[in-house]
């Protein structure tokens, strides 16, 4: 497989999806081939809704953060009137990035090359030496502002969509794109009546593996006991030592026999897993449960105490188990991925609960913690073992297939959700049907993209 030589048949062959035979297999080429990576960038990351960040990261006028949509640098900025905008971080004059900081506050962004100046709404407010520039009217008639990107804001979760073609409104509204996975986002943002905040500090790391390895790991209950035994062991020892003084980690008392796990697939590639929390008194929100129950009802309060891992296709996960993590990835190539990770928390949390949250977060989620390094190592092992087409398909998408059902189950009904599929079972079931709709979405987007390429004659 080389760029420019992919056929629609190649794309179709990426998934062996035969429900009538009980078969669902994903090609090992999916994480390996640069030709597929190229299609993913152009037709998924750069042509559909991509997560940018949170509105609470830019609370005041002129606050901004920078990120990427696929390969394209963008700025997410609150303008002088407080409206959030997203624009391409590339000067209209010659293309240089105009902002090099990860976040900050600025009324002006000045290109350091030829000195064009943009305000916090992205408008060009100065073309250096314009009067002396002997410009023609054709130039003066152009809009010199930074190119605006379509922005979607669901309750402070910000998404952007690049448009290569001239159909800026062909994407669904962000609410339609998210669908019922919104109810899972509500469980994050509603933990405090004051909303959500980011704990100061960002952790960035890379791993030598495909972005879909992270996408899968975030909703993969099957790996936990075999990838993280050293973490489980440490917390088990702590649990014995501190049995009388309360739990400081939700995984103390971890006993897989007593825990059930469920999963949902949603349209457009989103997915979630949920489970009962081994020691829910170690959850930082536990002591505020009465207030939460009164405000939102028992069902949602119960769900807030569940462990919940949520993938919003294609580039972000919210993992709430030991603490609440927002992890955003940027694929760098078929075999390298950059992770940008934040600890989130309900606003107004008391100091003791916040400290418990932060310590649990660091131990579990950091690449310098006790669990994530073992995940990242596993991704690298997968990438290293999967380098040729000697083997066609993985065997890792079959667990749960005999138990999954179409539509919602009674657990989904508690939140008023109508997912594409639902499953619930013992912890050891280690469901893998949670990946199926994601891969169907992924394959369909690649196929539609390649069809457009072929129709435009860009590829042969």
């Amino acid at each position: 497989m080389e760029t420019g030589q992919l056929s629609l048949a190649d794309i179709d062959a990426l998934i062996d999806d035969r429900p009538q035979d009980g078969a669902f297999r994903v090609s090992r080429a999916a994480v390996r081939e640069e030709a597929i990576f190229d299609l993913e960038m152009r037709h998924i990351f750069e042509n559909s809704w991509v997560f940018l960040g949170l509105s609470c990261q830019i609370p005041k006028p002129h606050d901004f953060f920078t990120t990427r949509i696929g390969r394209q640098p963008v700025i997410v900025s609150r303008d002088g009137a407080g409206r959030i905008r997203c624009f391409i971080n590339s000067c209209r004059h010659r293309g240089a990035m105009v902002c090099h900081r990860a976040a900050g506050s600025a009324k002006r962004h000045t290109c350091q090359y030829h000195g064009w100046v943009y305000d916090s709404s992205g408008a060009c407010v100065d073309v250096k030496d314009e009067k002396q520039g002997a410009y023609t009217q054709a130039f003066l008639d152009e809009d010199h502002g930074l190119a605006q990107v379509r922005l979607g804001d669901y309750r402070g979760f910000l998404f952007g969509k690049l448009n290569h073609d001239a159909r800026p409104h062909d994407a669904p509204a962000i609410e339609d794109h998210l669908g019922d996975v919104r109810m899972m986002l509500d469980l994050i943002v509603d933990q405090s009546p004051e909303g959500l905040e980011v704990v100061p500090g960002v952790v960035r790391y890379t791993y030598d593996g495909n972005w879909k390895l992270q996408l899968e790991n975030g909703t993969d209950p099957y790996h936990f006991t075999s990838t993280h035994p050293s973490y489980i062991q440490i917390l088990g020892e702590r649990g014995k030592q501190a049995a009388s003084s309360g739990h400081t980690s939700i995984y103390q008392n971890f006993n897989q026999k007593s825990i059930s796990r469920g999963a949902f697939c949603f349209p457009n590639g989103h997915a979630a897993i949920w489970g009962e929390t081994p020691s829910s008194d170690a959850r930082p929100i536990f002591r505020r449960l009465a207030e939460i129950t009164q405000r939102l009802g028992e069902a949602r309060a119960k769900w807030m105490l569940y462990t919940r891992n949520l993938s919003i296709f294609p580039n972000v996960q919210f993992a709430e188990n030991a603490a609440l993590q927002m992890r955003i990835w940027r694929p760098l190539s078929a075999n390298k991925t950059e992770m940008t990770t934040y600890c989130l928390a309900p606003k107004g949390e008391d100091r003791a609960a916040r400290a418990v949250r932060i310590r649990q977060y660091e131990e579990f989620f950091n690449p310098s913690g006790l669990a994530t390094p073992d995940d990242a190592n596993a991704y690298e092992d997968c990438q290293a073992g999967n380098v040729t087409d000697a083997i066609g398909f993985h065997q890792g998408y079959a667990r749960g297939m005999a138990a999954v059902r179409r539509g919602g189950d009674e657990h989904a009904a508690e939140l008023g959700m109508n997912p594409s599929t639902s499953i619930v079972g013992a912890f050891e079931m280690g469901d893998e049907t949670v990946f199926h709709e994601t891969y169907r979405t992924w394959r369909n987007l690649l196929r539609q993209g390649l069809e457009r390429d072929l129709a435009h004659g860009e590829r042969t």
């Binding site: 050293s230 916040r354 690449p367 006790l370 990242a376």
Partner: protein, 165 residues
């Protein structure tokens, strides 16, 4: 002691600590830490500041001595695939300056470059940090009471642990 003598004493302790890590004598390394020691690698914020309050802000690592002992157990226990086989390291220290900030307490600044060779991947990573130790005189020995890193290249290649920085 004169300033030069203090610095010489402190440097010897820092070099010894580095050697225990590079020779993977982690029990000896732990024994250099006071029972109430804190090992702290603060994170950076998106606007370029180092976090300063581990109770309200994020750290890469914030460990008590007991938690360091857990980490030693984890990497030696063979049940962490990220630590097995253990990367080989070389800790290179320089620019050591020490001052006695209280009777029996030295504050030591140094610069550390650490190379770690991942045997599985045949790949080398390098971290560099400005480091501050507080050394406390306990029973005729200098023990590490606090070690704080200002990690200058906080863009982590796959993983980081107490022995790779």
């Amino acid at each position: 002691m004169s300033g030069a003598d203090i610095t010489a004493v402190a440097a010897r302790i820092l070099f010894e600590e580095a050697r225990t890590l590079d020779e993977q004598r982690f029990d000896d390394w732990l024994a250099m830490y006071a029972h109430d020691a804190i090992f702290w690698v603060p994170a950076w914020t998106d606007d370029g500041l180092l976090t300063s309050d581990p109770e309200t802000q994020l750290s890469l690592i914030h460990c008590t001595r007991a938690q360091l002992a857990e980490r030693v157990g984890r990497v030696e226990g063979g049940r962490s695939q990220a630590s097995s086989p253990l990367p080989r390291t070389a800790h290179i220290l320089s620019n050591v300056i020490a001052a006695e900030i209280a009777p029996g307490v030295l504050r030591v600044s140094s610069v550390a470059t650490t190379h770690a060779f991942n045997i599985k991947r045949r790949a080398t990573t390098t971290t560099f940090a400005l480091v501050e130790h507080d050394l406390a005189r306990v029973d005729e020995r200098w023990l590490i009471a606090r070690k704080t890193f200002r990690l200058q290249n906080d863009y982590i290649a796959t993983m980081m642990d107490f022995y790779t920085i």
